[in-house]
């Protein structure tokens, strides 16, 4: 194995100008998004995720250069063929394998938000901004169309004719133009005019600029409005606005609202980080979705389809290994040992003896449990499995012991034991063994996928660290051929916990008000830990989140956030920041004990920091006043944690 660079450090979206490399790293599994849940050709799709969720990568796939590279390479590479076929099913390519969509990519950089600081009269800022969006969309579209049709840009634009340039909202100066090249020239002069006016110290020029309140480009660029060489354009038009979070709040709100309200004639995608959302939106999910509008939150999508995310992550990892290693094929998951190795046999044996002895001493005298204990005594197999079996039994016996019964002399039968020995109890047993004897818990590819909190960048960050160690082993293998490349469970856990701690430290520089957020999350983490590590593991496999009622959430959203003097204002702000920076995952409208609640789960990577399980599901309700106490004073409750 010979690798100079860590293939997990690069990001697919960085290879914007290197189509073939981009495709190599692209995993087609993300297209599952458009299988059942969402329709690809819905008029408007708003795609949201935390940073690194894969938005830009998804958008770039639909740009002409990438689509052309897919056509060129589909017969040379199975992976490319697979991506091509999946897109063809979705009508991105026509039956003659030609590109059937003009993907127009417009990325907003932070310069747009500086409009806010220009001393325009009220309203004029947004009007000029909209003008620029229309012009940029038109120019990008014309360029993309030339790329799709393999025309010379801009000369061949004269083959294009716009049928109607007098649609509502379109500027008067455009009304007399129909030829594509003329429209191109017009757009360029408009763009220059805007920039010259902005750069000019004399703001009067800006005031006289004719702005617009409408995104007319989304109608102008409709394929029904375009004739090419005398024939109506048949390709679909997809306008993709990326990095919308870089706009100012007013710009972003106006842009998204206008697009949604407009029901544009072209397919329009808006991609933005969760960070961009206003506080109210972050805590709400109230947008009306339907036939004309998709709201896609990537992390939520994957969270619902955990197995598929694992498959997706695996394919992303293997694609990266493949791109780094050339022809050789490796399965990344095979480098991550998922079972306890024999190197601990003595330690495991000793731990097993300890647990056995403890179970017998504590519960062996009780006739009720004799059958269950005897059943475990008969088990054979590897020591670690036996250790988990016995620790599971100990948890169940602790539960039984808490029950008061009149018939405690009647021996419990095996079926009753089996009923209680669910997977969750076994995971709890593994956690307890981890805590008591130091055997690793966070290892194996499935854990790695869970740790990613459905965020592909987080997955790549963790994988990059694990890969470094594999690379170290490859160096050592040259000196000592018996060195194995794969990572032991201990090593994996050590790397994961180190990364979690380092990332946590780095948050201090990135997240505003981090000291408060840290206190809140530390308190939630501490609380979850105290509830997880109880002898009867009553919340097995453990809890890694808290909940508030939907009524409380509405209070935060509708009142506390808007009123800086409100007692819960600071708590609401901190929660919003936690969501924005992907420190917690939320779920709304979950039914629990007759109440509708909002769940607040700790990001899985940080669960490793707090020694919590990674599975979703278990949580404990805490009132706002308790959470406020967490925020102000940290966790001050009783730490149970007696195993």
């Amino acid at each position: 194995m010979r690798i100079d660079k860590n293939p997990f450090v690069t990001r697919a979206s960085e290879y914007i100008d290197m189509e073939e490399k981009f495709i190599q790293l692209f995993s087609a599994d993300i297209l599952q998004l458009f299988n059942k849940e969402y329709q690809l050709w819905t008029q408007v799709s708003v795609i949201r995720s935390s940073p690194g969720g894969g938005k830009t990568t998804l958008l770039k796939l639909f740009t002409p250069k990438v689509l052309q590279a897919l056509i060129l390479n589909k017969n040379h590479n199975e992976h490319v063929k697979d991506v091509f076929d999946q897109l063809k099913i979705k009508e991105v390519f026509d039956k003659h394998d030609r590109i059937n969509v003009v993907g127009t990519y417009i990325s907003f950089n932070t310069q747009f938000s500086t409009f806010e600081y220009l001393p325009f009269p009220p309203g004029q800022q947004l009007r000029v901004f909209f003008s620029l969006v229309n012009i940029r969309s038109t120019l990008s579209f014309l360029k993309a169309l030339c790329a799709v049709r393999e025309y010379t840009y801009p000369v061949d634009l004269s083959r294009i004719k716009f049928l109607d340039t007098t649609l509502p909202g379109m500027p008067l100066s455009l009304h007399s133009l129909t030829n594509g090249y003329d429209v191109y020239q017009w757009a360029i002069s408009q763009e220059e005019q805007i920039f010259e006016a902005i750069d000019n110290i004399n703001m009067k020029e800006v005031e006289t600029l004719v702005g617009t309140d409408d995104l007319y480009a989304l109608d102008l660029l409709s394929n029904k409005n375009i004739v090419i060489d005398g024939e109506v354009m048949k390709e679909r038009v997809l306008i993709m606005f990326d990095d919308v979070q870089n706009l100012s709040r007013a710009q972003r709100d106006k842009l998204v609202k206008t697009i949604i309200d407009k029901r544009p004639l072209v397919n329009t995608w808006v991609a933005e980080r969760l960070k961009a959302l206003t506080m109210e939106e972050l805590l709400s999910e109230g947008q009306i979705e339907g036939r004309d509008l998709n709201i896609i939150e990537l992390e939520k999508f994957w969270a619902r389809k955990y197995q598929q995310f694992e498959k997706f992550a695996k394919s992303v990892a293997n694609r990266r290994l493949e791109s780094a290693l050339g022809d050789q094929q490796f399965d990344f998951s095979s480098f991550l040992t998922s079972t306890m190795t024999g190197s601990h046999s003595v330690k495991i044996e000793r731990a097993l003896a300890t647990v056995k002895e403890r179970v017998k001493e504590t519960f062996g005298k009780n006739d009720q449990y004799k059958g269950w204990i005897a059943q475990k005594e008969e088990l054979t197999g590897d020591y670690f499995t036996l250790l988990i079996e016995w620790r599971t039994l100990e948890i169940i016996l602790n539960r039984e012991n808490n029950k008061s019964t009149l018939f405690d002399t009647i021996e419990l039968n095996d079926d009753e034991l089996q009923e209680q020995e669910g997977n969750d109890v076994k995971i709890a047993a593994q956690l307890f063994v981890y805590r008591e004897f130091g055997f690793p818990f966070y290892y194996g590819f499935d854990v790695l996928a869970r740790l990613s909190s459905s965020n592909i960048e987080q997955f790549l960050n963790i994988s990059a660290q694990l890969f470094e160690e594999i690379k170290n082993n490859s160096v050592k293998k040259i000196i000592r051929p018996q060195t194995v490349l794969h990572l032991s469970p201990e090593k994996q856990q050590q790397i994961i916990q180190k990364l979690a701690n380092e990332k946590w430290k780095s948050l201090a520089n990135r997240v505003p008000e981090f000291n408060d957020i840290k206190r809140l999350l530390d308190a939630i983490g501490e609380f979850c830990r105290s509830e997880t590590y109880v002898p009867n593991a009553w919340n097995s496999p453990g809890i890694n989140g808290v909940s508030i009622t939907m009524a409380e959430r509405n209070l935060l959203k509708d009142i506390a956030l808007k009123d800086s003097t409100h007692v819960y204002h600071h708590l609401a702000r901190c929660l919003v920041l936690c969501i924005s920076y992907n420190l917690v995952d939320i779920k709304l409208n979950q039914r629990c004990k007759g109440k509708d609640v909002m769940l607040i789960y700790i990001n899985r990577l940080y669960c490793a920091k707090y020694e919590l399980p990674l599975h979703n599901g278990k949580f404990k309700e805490r009132s706002l006043s308790i959470l406020l106490g967490f925020l102000n004073k940290g966790f001050q409750g009783q730490i149970k944690m007696k195993l």
Binding site: R2, D4, E468, E469, N472, S474, V475, K476, I478, I479
Partner: protein
């Protein structure tokens, strides 16, 4: 050597040291990164030689107990000035230093505030003063070619010359170019008092001790060094150079791109004598000053300092009659400068010799130096 073999070799050498196993990976990773970034570009490595391999071989010569000290020194204290970093200093020289000096003169002359940059630079006085300036290299390290290219359109190529030892024909040509080009540049005839040069900028890349620039020879009781040599020829009334300059108003600037505090102090300390002798005092300007704290400190850098002083990895073959001028030995580098510095083209002998000890000696440096003075 293949990079993975070189890394394995380094691993093997480090495993013999007192460094903990888990830290070795970090060292390897760090040095691999630095090798890619800078160190592989050391120009005195033999073709095919890479830093990681050299580091492994270098450490292997060092006692196991000293290995950690040596590698920590390289990691924490070594400064490698790359080609692009030096180039940046050369390219910034005119806009950052020279322009500022010329502007100061013109601002005073025209009674303009120093912040009126545009008015100063656009003035005829500034343009004439710039044209009446000469730029000479003081050694082959002065990178006159880069200086010339980076100032195309600002400074005429005829004003820049590779060396300060100017022949009469070259000096005459410079004057001729000044006179003939004046009409074209300023649309008027040159006045007689404008037909000489008023500013002289002497450029060089690096000085650690300063001794080669200007020093007083107590035996011969005279100033020696490059600056002294230049003054001698410029202020010799019989030389053509004397006529080339407006001696009365001549201002000489010595610009060193990279200079230690020690060198700066040493050179400045001899300017009084120079002024006394010639009635003209040069000014020393440095693009980047290496402060005294940059040198190895006997207390703060005790471990590596002691290794150098101990002489275990030192060879007297590093000494010569030339190095004797800087002291009895070069255990801490020439002139006891104790620098942890590498220049991409050659390691200065003012750095500690465990870094630069010549190839083929029993102990070879990590960045072996090509000696300036070598027996043929």
């Amino acid at each position: 050597m293949k990079i993975e073999i070189a890394e394995a070799l380094l691993q093997k050498v480090l495993e013999k040291s007192t460094i903990k196993a888990e830290e070795i990976d970090e060292y390897r990773k760090y040095f691999q990164r630095m090798a890619n970034y800078k160190y592989d570009n050391y120009e005195q490595y033999a073709p095919g030689m890479r830093f990681i391999e050299k580091l492994a071989l270098w450490l292997d010569q060092i006692k196991d107990l000293d290995k950690q000290t040596a590698i920590d020194f390289v990691k924490q204290r070594l400064v490698f000035i790359s080609e692009s970093e030096i180039r940046l200093l050369v390219e910034s020289c005119y806009p950052d230093l020279i322009k500022d000096k010329l502007m100061g003169t013109v601002a005073a002359l025209k009674q303009l505030p120093p912040y009126a940059v545009n008015r100063i630079v656009q003035s005829e006085e500034y343009k004439i003063l710039l044209r009446r300036s000469l730029f000479f290299g003081m050694s082959d390290g002065a990178r006159i070619d880069e200086f010339r290219r980076s100032n195309t359109g600002k400074i005429s190529h005829e004003q820049i010359y590779l060396t300060y030892e100017l022949s009469d024909p070259r000096a005459k040509k410079m004057k001729k170019e000044l006179v003939e080009g004046f009409q074209e540049q300023f649309n008027r005839k040159i006045r007689p008092e404008e037909s000489t040069f008023q500013r002289l900028f002497l450029l060089d890349d690096f000085s650690a001790s300063g001794t080669s620039y200007l020093k007083y020879d107590h035996k011969e009781k005279e100033l020696k060094g490059k600056i002294a040599g230049l003054y001698k020829s410029v202020f010799d009334k019989d030389s053509y150079l004397y006529q080339l300059f407006d001696i009365e108003n001549l201002k000489v600037y010595v610009i060193i791109y990279l200079c230690t505090q020690q060198a700066q102090d040493f050179i400045n300390s001899n300017f009084d004598k120079l002024e006394k002798e010639y009635g003209n005092r040069p000014e020393l300007l440095t693009m980047h000053l290496l402060p005294d704290s940059f040198k190895l400190d006997p207390a703060k850098d005790k471990a590596i300092y002691d290794i150098c002083q101990g002489g275990e990895y030192y060879d007297e073959a590093l000494q010569s009659k030339h190095t004797d001028q800087g002291g009895t030995d070069v255990k801490l580098g020439f002139g006891k400068c104790a620098l942890p510095l590498i220049l991409h083209h050659n390691t200065p002998n003012n750095s500690i010799p465990i870094l630069w000890a010549y190839e083929n000696l029993p102990f070879e440096g990590l960045f072996p130096r090509i000696p300036r003075h070598i027996a043929l």
